[in-house]
Amino acid sequence: MFTIALKDIKQYFKDKTAVFLSLLLPIALITIFALMYGGIGKSEKSKAINLLFTDEDKTELSNEVFTTLDAEEGLKLEAKSFAEAESLIKKGKRTAVLVLYKGFQDSVEAGNKIPMELFYDEAKEIEMGLLQQALWSNLFGITMQKGIKGKVNTWIKEKNPDLSNSEIEDIQSQVAEQFDGFSNSNEQSEIEENSELPMTALVGEKKDGNLGLVQAIAGIAIMMLLFSVSASGASLLKEKEDGTFRRLLIAPVRPSGILYGKMLSTLFMAVLQLTVMFLYSWLVLGLDIFINLPALILMILCAAIACSSFGIFMASICKSRKQVESLSTLIILVISAIGGSMMPLFFMPAIMKKLAVVSVNYWAMEGFFDIFWRQLPLIDILPKMLILLGIGAVLTIISVISFKRNLLKMV
């Protein structure tokens, strides 16, 4: 068994194309995807984001905020009570709600701390990125302008208590003309401070894990791993086609030993590939792999077991190498798509998210998300590991049975 596994590994390293495909290609893809997801907040403007809006102030100014934001190209506002909004976000149907509390207008005009807050779903990091950009520029625009106006107002009133309101406004418009929007003053920074928008995550906690990066790494690594394990599985059928399989059976080796040897070498290559991927992500892409190293090692092992059993499974149910290649390419593309390897699942409709559970990619990626982004302790990631091991066990059992039934007969 070990002899066979060692021989396979030797063959693997001799085949430069295989090594290239299993190590360098995923590295390249991960890099591309990481850059893509990383840069998404800057370039993506096509799709409007739904922002919920709870107006508890119900003033002229709060209304103005609503219309200004809604007019913004990338934003679409929906007025909802806070309770409604909260439940929509918790269900994952909306990204965030902007709440303007009572006293919003008064505080803005008085130049006090502005009572507003943003509640959001942390899982939707990419949309949040877009949202924040849109909010910052617009919300600040409004509150700044009004805030400065308020400050000036108060100041003039203090100094000249006998001026009428219309006189004050007159002065203000002159001042505004003169300075064209106060730059460089202490007051501005004070207003900025007051306009600070407190953000509360309704879903997930605020941590600085990099969702896009993890998505790129885990998604691509698992998908590419599936490709290389099915190639490794296909080598079992190559042995059959070349006649080396017959020779193995003639030698004093137990037939199951041939299968286990193949599993072992496939598993080794899977672990190697994932390890290289994560090392690369750490060294080049700045992923903090030490955040929970034991969990990462276990996850790599579990994902490798599940994936390599997939490769062996494909080999044992197929009749020829060609069949393995075409069938597994098809299956891998499908399960990678529904499992979220290619596109983040949160871009997808709810039905797709439910469908994803049939995919090994989903569980592996969820596991890696748990480690790097949700930053859960090992004990909370265990269920996902167990599911991966379960997938591995089921596929292996089917493989062993059909190996005995088919391959041995076909010599």
Binding site: T3, K14, R246, L249, P252, V411
Partner: protein, 308 residues
């Protein structure tokens, strides 16, 4: 050394082997001669435990194969019909791999594989990948892989298929050397020259049955035909050969430029044959009478040619 009784094997409808009996003595080189599809590979597969026969028993040195599988497997070496090697590994790496499966280790393994590569004239290319080898070299390393564990009996399944005459001769020399060292071998082929040249005893197999068995001399003595008439000719007219084929049904092998007629009395038959040839508009170039070959014996037994 090897005793096989009543081996029978069917694939669905087709009976690949029926009631084959073999008894191979120690040191014997037994040839199994038969056309493609006769059941040679099936026999080898059954003898090497790869296939289970539907019926029959196999004994190596008196031990039942299936009851002493691990033990018997070590006695057997098989040179498969195809090049069953990893062509992306070198000759040495291949031999070491197969040796390890038989429990040979370390220095001993190194020594054995070097010796064999030397013996087969592959030493200078031993670290090159097999896929860079010529057909003849691949055939030789295919043989080497079966010898590594010092088997007591070796099955060679058409080990010279698809190679040039020179490489074929190299392999013959190897086999003769192994034979002289006392190795027991079963050699299958569809070339009668190979069986005639190499083998102590020959079993003629067709459609899953051994239809004749014995040394070359015994086969010749037991045959009713004694001689062969070889006729070389040019420009045969295919439509006019009916008379010939009708007259000598089951006796005549017709080829592009020559025919072979098996005969019990060549001198007596020659005049009629020549007469028929001229009627068939064959221009004769050369006529000679030779002693009997396995080809004619096969023809006599089956009514078919060995090669199709």
């Amino acid at each position: 050394m090897l005793l096989a009784k009543n081996l029978t094997k069917s694939y669905k409808e087709l009976t690949a082997l029926s009631d084959v009996n073999l008894s191979i003595e120690k040191g014997e080189l037994y040839g199994m001669l038969g056309p493609n599809g006769a059941g040679k590979t099936t026999t080898i597969s059954i003898l090497s435990s790869l296939l289970k026969p539907d019926n029959g028993e196999i004994f190596y040195e008196g031990k039942n194969l299936y009851q002493n599988l691990a033990e018997c497997k070590k006695l057997i070496g098989v040179v498969p019909q195809e090049i069953a090697l990893y062509d992306d590994l070198s000759a040495t790496e291949n031999l070491k791999f197969w040796g390890t499966l038989y429990g040979i280790k370390g220095k001993n393994l190194q020594k054995k594989s070097d010796e064999l590569l030397e013996f087969l004239g592959l030493a200078d290319r031993k670290n090159h990948k097999i896929k860079t080898y010529s057909g003849g070299m691949k055939r030789r390393i295919n043989i080497a892989a079966a010898l590594l564990h010092d088997p007591k009996i070796v099955f060679m399944d058409e080990p010279t298929v698809g190679i040039d005459p020179q490489s074929r001769n190299l392999i013959f020399e190897v086999i003769e050397e192994l034979h002289s060292r006392g190795l027991t071998m079963i050699y299958t082929t569809h070339y009668m020259e190979e069986a005639e040249r190499l083998c102590d005893r020959i079993g003629i197999i067709d459609e899953g049955k051994i239809i004749a068995e014995g040394s070359l001399d015994e086969l010749k003595t037991n045959s009713s035909i004694k001689e062969e008439i070889h006729l070389k000719y040019s420009n045969p007219n295919k439509n006019k050969l009916d008379q010939l084929t009708d007259r000598y049904k089951g006796q005549l092998l017709l080829n592009e430029d020559h025919l072979i007629l098996s005969s019990s009395q060549a001198n007596a038959e020659l005049p009629e044959l020549i007469q028929l040839c001229s009627k068939s508009e064959l221009l004769l170039d050369k006529v000679d009478i030779r002693s009997l070959s396995l080809e004619s014996i096969f023809l006599e037994l089956t009514g078919k040619s060995l090669r199709d």
